[in-house]
């Protein structure tokens, strides 16, 4: 992990990149030659994101390494969640929403014309701000919802028990619910529900896990449980987490991306991305420093 971190920071340090001036200058990834560094799991290339005609986010380019955690920070309305949702094609679920630019998953553009968004979402899981277990389903059925509702995956019923236990253990929830798997998922506490949603997301064995402020509705103890979980999950998954809590970003992530917008109505932009230690100790941009030190706005 440390080796990763140092290599990342040196890459980003040499990037002559992230000026929030024009989208042409923001094409950063092409500068890094592919053979010099390990392949990226997720790579955003010059991504513009629209709601109908409104340009919400402009010119975002960044890379996420396999088995690492990247956090997105920035003020409300700067487009962090929008960028996150565009990574598993959830953005287009909103009517009128669209994207231009590229999102590469292991080098493959997920916005290519023949790509099936359903398949993208099976490879890239997502956990939402508010826990959203399916209210008509038991804890057990919630965990296997993604498998059961898609027969083409060819999972046999007998292996569901193993999947449920593995996923719930993976989400640190097994010991709390193993005796009441047939109870409704909606009866759990907020923190348990959120871990149930994480279990549900990892049950389909994605490569990437996107988390949109997963702790904002939770108390500190549940938050700690989720943060511990993120540390464990990092061994298997690549994680991008949106958070308003800068301590959380500092605690859980290897790299941090700071987004900002000049004013309301202007598109959000990626200001700076780099190793979390660098972003928090020696940010290159005044805006980043202001935001991190709380002198913002």
């Amino acid at each position: 992990m440390d080796a990763h971190r140092t290599s990342v920071s040196s890459d980003t340090a040499t990037d002559p990149t992230v000026e929030a001036t024009g989208q042409e200058k923001l094409v950063t990834s092409s500068i890094v030659s592919p053979e010099a560094v390990p392949q990226f799991r997720i790579e955003l290339k010059n991504l513009d994101i629209y709601y109908s005609d409104f340009l919400a986010v402009q010119g975002v380019s960044l890379q996420v390494r396999p088995q690492s955690v990247m956090s997105f920070i920035g003020p409300s309305g700067c487009g962090k969640s929008t960028v996150l949702r565009s990574v598993d094609r959830m953005h287009e679920v909103t009517p009128g929403a669209r994207v231009s630019g590229q999102v590469l998953l292991d080098g493959e553009d997920i916005y290519a014309p023949n790509v099936d968004p359903v398949l993208v979402r099976r490879t890239i899981g997502m956990v939402f701000q508010r826990p959203n277990p399916f209210p008509t389903m038991s804890i057990y059925d919630n965990v296997i919802a993604g498998l059961k509702l898609e027969k083409s995956r060819g999972v046999k019923k007998s292996s569901f028990d193993d999947t449920v236990e593995r996923s719930l253990r993976g989400a640190n929830l097994w010991d709390e619910v193993k005796d009441r798997l047939d109870r409704p998922g909606a009866g759990l506490s907020g923190g348990q529900q959120q871990r149930l949603c994480i279990a549900r997301a990892i049950a389909v064995e994605p490569e990437v896990l996107l988390m949109d402020e997963p702790c904002s509705a939770l108390d500190p103890i549940s938050t700690l449980a989720i943060e511990d979980l993120i540390h464990d999950l990092k061994n298997q998954y690549t994680i991008i987490i949106v958070t308003h809590n800068m301590q959380q970003a500092a605690r859980v992530s290897d790299e941090t991306a700071f987004f900002n917008l000049e004013s309301v109505g202007e598109p959000g932009r990626l200001i700076e991305v780099g190793s979390t230690t660098d972003i928090f100790s020696q940010p290159k941009h005044q805006q980043t420093e202001d935001y991190i030190s709380g002198r913002f706005g």
Partner: protein, 357 residues
């Protein structure tokens, strides 16, 4: 502005203008005011004095409001008086809404229940002199169940699928115009639905009068109700559930079938059953599409069929005491049938409702 209690603690609480207690009316004040109002009203009734030409109970009501409001105003102050008058008005209007309903129910039950017996339920009007005693409603019950059943079979799939389109897929002009037409259809008078089926199905296409024609007319009335209620139920399913399911890589049609509809199914069932109950009592479209019959007609596709509403209409028109009794019996059976539909809806809704425990 803060109260600064640390520097402003009064020595004697009763001197402090900020104290939290105030003078209140006794608990029996509403009842006492009501009795006083009633006494005034009854006094006027007995003495025959008229105030502004108003009936005694209107005077009693106004007297109650005046006494109650004035008493509160003098003891508790303006805000409490407004509150108590508004509360009284809300209770009174609620009672005004319920009284006619209860009245109808009680009348139908008291007049109808004595007519109901096994013979009444199992016999028809065949070979019964409509002006004499005897006969029953079996043919009407069979007809109503057939026609409403046909209407339900037609309306529920169309209605629910349209609601799914409007709630989950519909965007832009098509969805807006469907919404508009559904709203307009909700307001169509039932006789117009009957006229449409009569001219189109029977006169133009040449089909005979039948239970099916009646079912078609009823489904015209039922479809918009099913669409509206199902759409509302689907719309209150939180979007987070749809997104959560989509994010798991579940295709949209499965998200709708397995997540959205099960979450809303309890409300959808209630809406369907209320729509069923609503068309069960329709009379006008049936008169145009299937008319009357005095015997059971098991064939829904040909020939006139009886039904409970048209049975009641027919019996009232006969004008003898025994036919009026049969009409009350039919009314009782009709209300009982609607009650069964409604109870079934409540039970099914409770069974399918999402649970937390």
């Amino acid at each position: 502005m803060s109260l600064k209690t640390d520097v402003h603690l009064p020595i004697n609480p009763s001197d402090d203008p900020l104290r939290l207690t105030g003078r209140r009316l006794p608990r029996w004040a509403p009842a006492a005011s009501m009795v006083a109002g009633l006494v005034i009203g009854i006094l006027l009734l007995v003495t025959g004095v008229k105030i502004l030409g108003l009936t005694w109970w209107v005077v009693a009501l106004l007297a109650f409001l005046l006494i109650y409001g004035g008493w509160t105003l003098s003891v508790e102050g303006r805000r409490h008086a407004t509150d108590r008058i508004a509360t009284a008005a809300v209770y009174l209007t609620a009672a005004a809404a319920i009284i006619p309903l209860a009245w109808i129910l009680i009348t139908v039950i008291t007049k109808g229940i004595s007519v109901i017996n096994l013979e009444f339920l199992t016999s028809t009007m065949r070979n019964v002199n409509p002006r004499a005693e005897g006969g029953g409603i079996l043919h009407a019950v069979v007809g109503t169940l057939t026609q409403v059943g046909i209407a339900t079979l037609i309306s529920v799939p169309i209605g629910i699928c349209t609601a799914i389109y409007l709630s989950e897929y519909g965007r832009g002009r098509l969805a807006r115009s469907i919404n508009f037409f559904v709203d307009v259809m909700t307001g169509i008078p039932s006789i117009i639905a009957g006229m449409f089926i009569f001219t189109f199905w029977i006169l133009t296409l040449g089909f005979p009068q039948s239970g099916l024609a009646a079912g078609l007319a009823l489904s015209i009335l039922m479809i918009p109700v099913v669409i509206k209620s199902a759409e509302e139920m689907l719309k209150i399913v939180p979007n987070e559930l749809r997104e959560g399911a989509l994010a798991l890589g579940i295709p949209k049609y499965k998200v709708i079938i397995k997540i959205v509809i099960p979450t809303a199914i309890s409300g959808i069932i209630t809406g369907v059953m209320l729509a069923v109950a609503r068309v069960t009592g329709e009379t006008a479209p049936l008169l145009l599409t299937t008319f009357l019959a005095q015997d059971v007609n098991w064939n829904a596709f040909e020939g006139s069929q009886a039904s409970l509403p048209t049975f009641i209409w027919d019996q009232i028109a006969r004008g003898t005491q025994s036919s009026l009794d049969r009409a009350w019996g039919g009314a009782f059976a009709l209300i009982f049938l609607v009650l069964i539909f409604y109870s079934a809806a409540r039970i099914l809704a409770a069974i399918y409702a999402p649970r937390e425990r």
